[in-house]
Amino acid sequence: MNKIMLFAHLRDEAGAEYIELQAEGKTVADVKELIAEKYNLTKLDSTMSAINEEFAEDDEVIQKGDIIAFIPPVSGG
């Protein structure tokens, strides 16, 4: 299983700080699509992604036990 950490509006939309998912072998983009559908998460296309606290591109492949984080950039200031 993989832990998917959610921040900002994604956290509010999912109603949870993280979700668990079998993501091994999938790409970051796959996971985005999957959770967008399952949890009705929005604006994932402009959300930054990290694997194990390191920045990750959309085509990166997830390994067993990896922790993924989705961090939506915000505008306010």
């Binding site: 921040f7 402009s46 930054m48 990290a50 961090i71 950039p73 915000v74 505008s75 306010g76 200031g77």
Partner: protein, 339 residues
Amino acid sequence: MSDRYSRQTLFAPIGFEGQRMISQKHVLLIGAGALGSGNAEVLARAGVGKLTIIDRDYVEESNLQRQQLYTEQDVIEKLPKAAAAKKRLLEINHELNIKAVIGDATPEVIEDLCREVDLILDCTDNFETRMLINDASQKHGVPWIYGACVSSYGMSLTIIPGKTPCLNCLLKKIPLQGMTCDTGGIIGPAVQMVIAHQSAEALKILVEDWEHIRQTFVSFDLWNNQYTNIKISKAKDEGCLSCGTTRTYPYLQSENRTKTAVLCGRDTVQIRPPHDTVISLETLSKQLKSLGYEIKGNPYLLSIEMAEQRMVLFQDGRALIHGTKDITHAKSVYQRILG
């Protein structure tokens, strides 16, 4: 005032030499809202040599909850934020050299200033200006510090040309509808937290302590007790048009900027985003309604009633701001909602 900086020179990584460097540096602050006023105060108290502050808005009642340089009197006088900030900063530190620029942070204004500043602090409320700062920073070799917050959530990133990835490496394109304080609300502590991170990095840059620069994208949620550092060195993209091997500085080009036009004979400004886009009117409508805005709409457009203006927003991001002929003000209204 010889004792003034004693507690700061006591701090070994600054010391007397660092204090001398701080006093000779020029910082450009873009935006004098919550982050702008807070960062300006920290830097003014720290004794920075010169501060240039750009802002296009005036002080409003709803600003007082979190924008730390302003008072009720500034609201009554409808003072421009840059001017109100300057007034208060000089009461704090009369030795400071402060330049208040009341207006829009256009490519021309920013590029001009890049020739004389040592650091740009991003305190804006929209990504268009941030991407513009990012390009100008790379073109002129000036470090800048991204900061943003909404609700109890915030983030920051330090960008040093030639050493770190740039914001365009990380985001690739301008995020549409990034959450703003006008759509998600904001609490004062989240503002303070971003200011703490931005101003700490600013001091490191001013004393040229490059090895202590934070190498991560930091984000936090104070209400939910989250704090995360994402390593970003891998994000550096040699194909990046802002900082890669072949650079076009796309966000300095006018075709990549929001277009505005006053409509003849009508008290209306038209605003067009630079690229084709599809806004989810349904989602936005729900969001704005829950915030108390009066919204009418159909599948093609939303009509949003505001205090002094009415905004009609089309699905492709185009908008008409009724009730003003002031382009800068209209853009400000638009970006407060759409980020």
